[in-house]
Symmetry: C2
Subunit: 165 residues, 2 copies
Amino acid sequence: MEVEKAIRERRSVRTYRSQEVKEETVRRILDAGRWAPSGLNNQPWKFLVLEKACKDSLAEYTKYGEVIRSSARVILVFLDREESYHYEKDLLAVGACVQNMLLEIHSCRLGGCWLGEILNRREAVHAKLEIPGHLQLEAVIAVGVPGGGTQAGVRKELGALWIGK
Amino acid sequence: MEVEKAIRERRSVRTYRSQEVKEETVRRILDAGRWAPSGLNNQPWKFLVLEKACKDSLAEYTKYGEVIRSSARVILVFLDREESYHYEKDLLAVGACVQNMLLEIHSCRLGGCWLGEILNRREAVHAKLEIPGHLQLEAVIAVGVPGGGTQAGVRKELGALWIGK
């Protein structure tokens, strides 16, 4: 799929069919994340992929639990504090990494949803999954075969974002 | 250009030819940024595009000034604190926005370089460009027609990033 199309067409998918997502496809999605740029090329991200049973146990930590339950897999993206050199820049890099994965998901004709609200329960999620202390959850991405409509992508006009030149 | 190719092929380009980048192309790059996802769809970014004279005046604020001087244009990306709802999530969103622009730049067969070191002089840049107080510089992207080789993209192996499942 063309970059221009993927960037503009990608939407959050919140309901999925019961079909599985192949291991090979999950690897391809993570691989896309791996190619994101980062300050000093420090690549401060780590990934955790959860399958059925373990995935569903995460649902209770977010009001969007239904998205997690409906999905085939979830990918957790962590900031690795041991690899971090500048907290703010590292968060920007993790955001770039997540976006690569979302674009790859869309390009695979799958649906993804970036769940951020679950960060409100970060400590509980860390405890539940026994996450090593140097990793900090930054994003959860639900993935699956799209099973329903998506909302229209509403964006501010470019003119409203441009502060002169 | 295919998403998969753009994600894996994109590199930081640090030297450029003297050719201009069309206004229309700059708009296309910013438009790609605009389509990034953000928490609650708050779109907390603002853009400032600098052309020749003004652009070059930024060079003194970074040790990578030569990249700025060599480029055709630079795009400054700000976090708009008035649109911000959660600092950490908003930084992740700005990172996603920057990545969309870098992919669009590559897809246009142009070169881009994400300059982060200049954030060390953020206050001075804000003052120089008379940036409104609610905007916080997060990234500078140099853009131009590639004029030299790029470094090999070295990435950690996927296995080293995967913390089990």
